[in-house]
Symmetry: none
Subunit: 192 residues, 4 copies
DNA sequence: TATGAATGAGTATTCATTCAT
DNA sequence: GATGAATGAATACTCATTCAT
């Protein structure tokens, strides 16, 4: 039951937004009563927190799995990480959108926890960049933290417009992003 | 009065979110009564729409001003456009955040109108890219539309983490973004 | 309107108790909607506090009026004070019962304020006793504070059983109490 | 188990009040589940009734024990009865407060039964007074019923303010009450 | 222009109670 | 004897909106 509530809630939160989705909406969808909801969750916010934590923890775990692979280059790791996010859209796009949109409805304490996970994800990525710089794969970046914000902004935003079932496949999208991130858009004039 | 209502509403919507800001909150801040609000606005949504339109129309106008300048390169135009967005954070950051966060609270009809402006902004940018490709400033992009989504995702996301009064100046931030967009992060190995 | 809400609430709180009286009950009785209630009161507790303060402040004022009369003896003052309480049953019996029964539903802060008024009422009475002792009207009491608790317990309890429209008139009741308080019930054997 | 439920309930009802104490609160304190509660009690009210009957029946029994002693005077019996009540505060203060405060939550049928016990207690006391009058120990009282209400109001109210572990011992308190009841507070002027 | 009173539909939450296991 | 899941009715409270003045 708890799982079903979470599942349907993600659906509704994605479709209508957290504040416009009432507990009534959720339980009606499942076909139980409000009492049941409160048997499993202390409050609407606790449910939201649950969704957030499930999502970010899972994502972090997969990120770590990719990062610890010792046999691939930093470039390849980065590609895999971006693919992780993009491919996630299809499977967990709803959770992801709820995760990015409804942060405001967490209370301060919850926010601190969630933000610590977010930071961890970012820092892991930053370390990858720095490792790549050291290994001569990437150019030296004065502010790798900001570069990370940029890359994540770009990739994460996909949740809002990218349709995995549309004309552009996930692999193509990742390739486009990787090309942009690695080479930029400027015409190469060094070949004079 | 109308202006004050809009101004204070942007403040409150940015601080607390649209759904958590009540009309009472707004009129209390100004020191008038709810009746006054409804004298100037038909509904809370109309106010939100107003904020959206004000924001996007102004942004579009400034974008067009930059684009029609015939004496600067596409690269420079792009830089100016990114600077436009970044510098906007300081001046209109609140509006901008409301604009990006609270779209969900518009109704379908309103959404269509706002989205048409958004698209216009994107398409203008895309034309710039394509012009740049033609002029040999930019590499050929199979999907310039997606590149635009990427660039805008990256730049717009700044509203959520960038602090204009922090250690990184607006110019620096724009430079970092431009470097990333133009050259990517890969170590250039062609010069060997 | 505010007055009507208070009036009907006292009625209902007296009849059914605070916790068993819903806001719905109150507004139904008056014929308005819940919104109206919350236009005038911030919460159910604020209403209860209002009732408490109205009651105790008025009672205190009348007490002070009696006490400051310089032309009557302490015995007579005490009689007047008891009469004040007893006669109050008819007029404000409902408020009085709410006042004594529903204290538990005030929050800590409110309780402190109300208790300070209660204490004031008690202390005024205690001063009267002590004045009477000084003037030789009353026997010396080692613990006049406890005597006051006793007297007030006796008199106040009347709210719960005394029917002003029954066979015992208010004057008779006061006389019985005064006789008990002044002379006790023991057969006087000193005159032999 | 049944006993533990009653015991903890008295505690909670005294601390938080009947209506603010949920079955959940009760079973949580004991460490069982709600099902258990309903195995032993048909309803929350039945539990309350149980507490009421336990209390008043026990008190009545002890009252009768005192009253049937043929070797002590009416004055002494009265003193013993008041001591019974006062000393009860320490041992059964919680039950006593629940007994006096939460009557309202009994339904009509239950109330009738409980009130019949209350009346019995009062009438026993009244008979004692009348016996005392006959024997010349007490002055003739036109309304011994009202005198009883007065005495009981005074003594019972102690539950709400008297602290058995404070500076006034139970014996002292009883003596103060007895002196007040027997002799009143008036300065005796008959000996001139 | 602006107010202030009132509405009414909605919202999260609580809780005594039931019942199959 | 005891559990745990589920119910459903009630509850305090919120809020966008209306409207006569």
């Amino acid at each position: 039951m708890r799982g079903r509530i979470i599942k349907e809630s993600i659906d509704l939160f994605d479709k209508k937004g957290f504040s416009k989705t009432s507990i009534q909406d959720i339980v009606d969808t499942i076909g139980v009563t409000k009492g049941t909801f409160y048997y499993y969750f202390k409050s609407k916010q606790e449910l939201l927190m649950d969704i957030h934590l499930n999502y970010i923890k899972e994502l972090l775990k997969e990120q770590v799995d990719i990062l610890k692979d010792e046999y691939i280059s930093c470039q390849e790791k980065m590609k895999k990480l971006i693919y992780l996010i993009i491919q996630n859209i299809k499977v967990h796009g709803k959770s992801a959108r709820v995760f990015t949109r409804e942060v405001r409805h967490l209370d301060e304490e919850q926010l601190i926890l969630v933000n610590s996970y977010r930071r961890e994800f970012r820092i892991n990525l930053q370390k990858l960049i720095e490792e790549g710089i050291e290994k001569g794969e990437f150019r030296d970046q004065k502010r790798s933290d900001i570069v990370i914000f940029g890359i994540l902004g770009m990739v994460n935003r996909s949740y809002n417009w990218y349709n995995p079932d549309g004309e552009v496949s996930e692999e193509e999208l990742v390739n486009i992003y990787m090309d942009l991130i690695l080479n930029g858009i400027k015409m190469d004039t060094s070949s004079t």
